[in-house]
């Protein structure tokens, strides 16, 4: 037994107990009355006292009871504590799906709001610990919100208000839904720390309560015990028309033309006609009406296959901009009704060729549709101002011919022969007489390139790091590889062009064409302007102090880049266009799209098929289960106390 505040109790006792005794023995204020004679009254009082010895006892009993009550209160003030083995009662993990499909408005106001409401009802019905019991076992719960990743909103607690606040803090998102991480996190939290896991874990196994529409991707990979998961299905409708694919591309030959491809899917049971609108920078450029066929149920696997239709737009736009493809009729899920793309301004490449003198390479490069080609000697390259390079991005591609400089600015490189240093690539020795044995014909660099007859008399052996992309192989060493290092992209060829028979192959020019095209698309050192939901916006070589990111809901967030000049904005939870403002630079745009056929299929599932069992949705809606009765009892006690006071007053008068 411990006493938290013993001194307080002692002081209070020293004051209160004598006070009570003094009060008790003070004379009662009596109403004075004149009577003709007190003779008979005094006799009556004596008779009463003599004939009722119990009176004295009753008076003392009252004093005793009051003393006991006072002592109990004083003890409470002193704060006694008793260490007991008090384990929690049943533990629950509340999993709330906040993926894109939960934003559907078929259940007002949205499926996520409905899930939150049901979760809050569930929280309210948790059994709270009894206030007057020593071995109370309150139910504990934790709240996890998941889309692709799991976020713990509230750790295990029995405080219902805290849980309700955590549930309210769940924000809608547009991500895909995956349960694996959430289950792993839940299991990790549910394990009691320390060595008591064996005794209590069996009976204290946490129950998972899932509030979702059932459209979860990776359920087949999850293993759960029987009765471990309770699935509460949210949502009813299945009708939805979504844009499931969108691509905007400038044609390489005619950079002013933009081709936009979009694909619409219909998950409803009937074919619908929709208007699809294309806009650039907010201006509508084209509207097309398409009919999307109905969703079919595949006869073999009984899975519904949505009806699809493809839409093509072709427009001329000479400049950069933000493309928007939007389906004009509002339906249950709005975040898949539009898709955005970011257009780079049409650009012809500027290529720097660093070579001692290689007319073959030079003429092959000049045959490609580039803006300019600047040949340069290695000495001249060294002499160039590196700082100037990074700032202005003067050249899109730098072709290195047998030149391996020590330090390279950030750029895209096509390197023949010598491998630049600092790339984690070792070339221990030279190889002779190598033939190409294999190449990746589907890679953009090697499209339509036939390397069958490529023979290299001399080549360097390449030992590449694990993240290098090998495009072609000689019999003893990789021949062509793509590597990303330090913000630069390198397309490496371990052999000198003039040491091989490639210039005589028609594939050489094609290769150069493809290589330049490919390297040109690696604009910004691997920067992607089209992202899916929850993919971070990564900025490189930012020299400003802060960067302002404007979200689609017009809120602004400040991001500070690290000393290396990189900045990350990971909170791309909603679809739309994010604008990035770097001081002294033009504004950049990033488009975050859903483009997910699985999430756009909003039909809620009746059951979840885990890898080892199938959990059906709960048929009963959640209702308030455990109602505490103590308010009723306290009210009854109050009423009884009033009645007792009334009865005492009435009786005393008689």
């Amino acid at each position: 037994m411990q006493w938290l505040t013993p001194l307080v109790g002692l002081y209070a006792a020293a004051v209160a107990i004598p006070l009570l005794l003094v009060l008790y023995f003070l004379k009662l204020k009596r109403h004075e009355m004149l009577v003709s004679s007190t003779l008979l009254w005094k006799r009556a009082v004596q008779d009463l006292q003599v004939n009722a010895p119990f009176q004295k006892l009753r008076r003392n009993l009252l004093l005793l009871l009051q003393l006991l009550a006072l002592i109990a209160m004083l003890l409470a003030l002193a704060g006694p504590m008793m260490a007991l083995d008090k384990g929690p009662g049943q533990r629950y993990v509340i999993l709330i799906d906040r993926s894109a499909s939960m934003n559907a408005t078929d259940v007002a106001p949205s499926r996520l709001a409905e899930a939150r409401k049901q979760a809050k009802i569930f929280v309210e019905s948790l059994r709270g610990g009894a206030a007057v019991s020593l071995r109370d076992r309150a139910d504990h719960a934790m709240v996890i919100a998941f889309d692709r990743h799991a976020k713990v909103m509230c750790n295990f607690t029995s405080d219902r208000r805290q849980l309700a606040a955590a549930i309210d803090a769940i924000e809608a998102g547009d991500g895909a839904s995956q349960l694996g991480e959430a289950v792993t996190v839940a299991r990790a939290f549910a394990q009691p720390a320390g060595g008591e896991a064996d005794a209590s874990s069996a009976e204290a196994r946490a129950k998972l309560v899932l509030f979702s529409d059932g459209r979860i991707r990776d359920v087949e990979t999850i293993v759960l015990a029987q009765d471990e998961l309770a699935f509460h299905r949210i949502g009813q409708a299945q009708d939805n028309v979504a844009i499931t694919a969108m691509k905007a591309r400038r044609s390489y030959e005619q950079p002013e033309q933009v081709e936009v491809f979009a694909s619409l899917a219909n998950y409803g049971a009937e074919a619908v006609t929709r208007d699809v609108q294309l806009g650039v920078n907010g201006n509508v450029r084209a509207v097309r009406s398409v009919t999307v066929p109905a969703c079919q149920t595949d006869a073999d696997s009984a899975t519904p296959v949505p009806g699809k239709v493809a839409v093509n737009f072709s427009l001329a736009h000479n400049g950069e901009g933000v493309l928007e493809v939007r389906q004009l009729t509002a339906d249950a899920l709005t975040c898949d009704d539009a898709a955005w793309g970011v257009l780079e301004p049409p650009k012809r490449l500027s290529v720097l060729l660093v070579t001692e003198g290689n007319p073959v390479l030079e003429s092959a490069l000049r045959a490609c549709p580039i803006e300019r080609l600047d040949p340069c000697t290695p000495a001249g390259f060294e002499a160039m101002d590196r700082a100037l390079f990074s700032m202005q991005n003067a050249y899109d591609v730098i072709v290195l011919d047998n030149h391996a400089p020590a330090r390279l600015p950030r750029c895209r490189y096509l390197a023949f022969g010598a491998v630049p240093s600092g790339l984690d690539v070792n070339s221990p020795r030279e190889l002779e007489s190598q033939m190409i044995v294999d190449w990746r014909a589907r890679h953009p660099v090697l499209q339509h390139v036939n390397l069958t007859n490529l023979f290299a008399a001399q080549t360097r052996m390449l030992e590449l790091p694990r993240d290098a992309d090998v495009l072609a192989e000689f019999n003893e060493s990789p021949a062509l590889a793509v590597l990303h290092r330090r913000g630069s992209t390198f397309l490496l060829a371990g052999f000198d062009v003039l040491q091989s028979n490639w210039p005589f192959e028609p594939s050489f020019v094609l290769f150069c064409y493809n290589a330049l095209n490919f390297l040109a698309t690696q604009a910004g050192g691997g920067e992607q302007h089209e992202l899916s939901v929850a993919e971070p916006i990564a900025l490189e070589s930012v020299s400003a102090k802060t960067v302002t990111v404007t979200c689609p809901d017009a809120s602004e967030v400040e991001v500070r880049p690290d000393p290396g000049g990189s900045a990350r904005f990971p909170a791309t939870y909603r679809v739309g266009v994010y604008g990035v403002d770097i001081p002294d630079e033009p504004q950049r745009f990033y488009a975050v799209n859903l483009l997910d056929a699985e999430e756009s299929d909003i039909a809620p599932r009746q059951e979840i098929s885990l890898s080892n069992l199938t959990v059906a949705a709960e048929t009963q809606a959640i209702e308030r289960a455990n109602v505490p009765l103590w308010p009723v009892l306290v009210l009854a006690a109050l009423v009884l106390a009033c009645a007792e006071w009334l009865a005492y007053n009435l009786k005393a008068r008689i």
Binding site: L28, K29, R30, H31, E32, M33, L34, V35, S36, S37, T38, L39, L40, W41, K42, R43, A44, V45, D47, L48, N51, A52, A652, R653, I654
Partner: protein, 302 residues
């Protein structure tokens, strides 16, 4: 300030005319037949020369021939003497308590006592009896003695109406003084609430004698008979200021009533054992019913 003539108090303030008319037909009775001084209308056991025939006895040589009943001799041819009762007049003493305790009550016991005194005094004076009224608190306060005849009615009324009830009560002193000033024989009527802390035994014993009938009339107010009190009270005695702290409850009231009944019963027993008559009256009752019905039943009046 000019001296105002004090207004004369009238008997009609105490007794109304109808009651007085009924009282005219009453007379005071004595259970013991007592001797008076004048030849009044009382019967006494002394067979003497008076006009009322009482009995016959046979003639013996030497008796007075004037009292022979010749009608019986004519019938029975024997000589019988008429016997006559000697009638004597009655002295009526009224002893009325005017201490502070009599002033309490709703209706006031004092008013009842005064009205009762007035009624009994009226009956006495109207029938030419000798009346003496003594008002006492601690000892005799006011006395009107040797009243006879209607002429004294206003005086009696004046005295009764002008006396206020206050003061400590010393019953024994009052009875002692009254007994010494009592002359002759007659009826003594004590009107009081008899709530004396010193007791009434010794005092009443003084009033008891061979020559006097004693009538004890205890007047209590309804508040004393059935008190309607509640709560925590401090009762103060109006006479001696003594305080009693009580907390009223059903049990306490029960004991009070029991004590009151016991007290009255004790007084009753005391009176009965000594040949006195005890009458208990409630000040809320009407004086008329007490006088006309009850006192006739106990043969104080006829």
């Amino acid at each position: 300030m000019p001296a105002t003539k004090p207004t004369t108090r009238k008997l009609t303030e105490l007794l109304d005319a109808k009651f007085m008319a009924r009282l005219d037909s009453l007379d005071v009775l004595s259970r013991k037949i007592l001797q008076g001084k004048l030849q009044g209308e009382r019967r006494s056991k002394r067979r003497g020369q008076s006009v009322e025939f009482a009995d016959h006895r046979p003639y013996v040589v030497g008796d007075d021939l004037r009292f022979v009943d010749w009608n019986i001799y004519g019938r029975l041819e024997h000589l019988f003497l008429k016997l006559f009762l000697e009638e004597q007049d009655l002295t009526i003493h009224l002893l009325v308590d005017t201490s502070a305790s009599m002033g309490m009550g709703e209706p006031a016991k004092a008013l009842f006592a005064k009205r009762l005194t007035a009624a009994l005094g009226y009956v006495s004076l109207v029938n030419n009896n000798r009346l003496s009224i003594s008002l006492f608190a601690d000892g005799l306060r006011t006395q009107l003695t040797h009243m006879r005849g209607r002429n004294y009615l206003p005086q009696m009324a004046e005295m009764l109406l002008t006396t206020e009830c206050d003061g400590f009560s010393d019953f024994e002193k009052a009875c002692r003084d009254a007994a010494t000033s009592r002359i002759g024989s007659g009826i003594t009527i004590v009107i009081s609430d008899f709530l004396f802390k010193q007791g009434y035994d010794a005092a009443l014993r003084r009033l008891i004698g061979a020559r006097y009938d004693l009538y004890v009339i205890q007047v209590l107010s309804p508040q004393e008979i059935e008190p309607e009190l509640g709560g925590d009270l401090k009762l103060r005695d109006i006479e001696d200021g003594d305080a009693a702290e009580i907390t009223v409850s059903a049990a306490l009231l029960k004991y009070y009533r029991r004590n009151l009944a016991a007290y009255c019963a004790e007084l009753n027993g005391f009176c009965t054992r000594r040949g006195a008559v005890y009458v208990r009256a409630n000040s809320a009752d009407s004086v008329e019913s007490l006088v006309l019905n009850y006192l006739r039943r106990v043969r104080l009046l006829r």
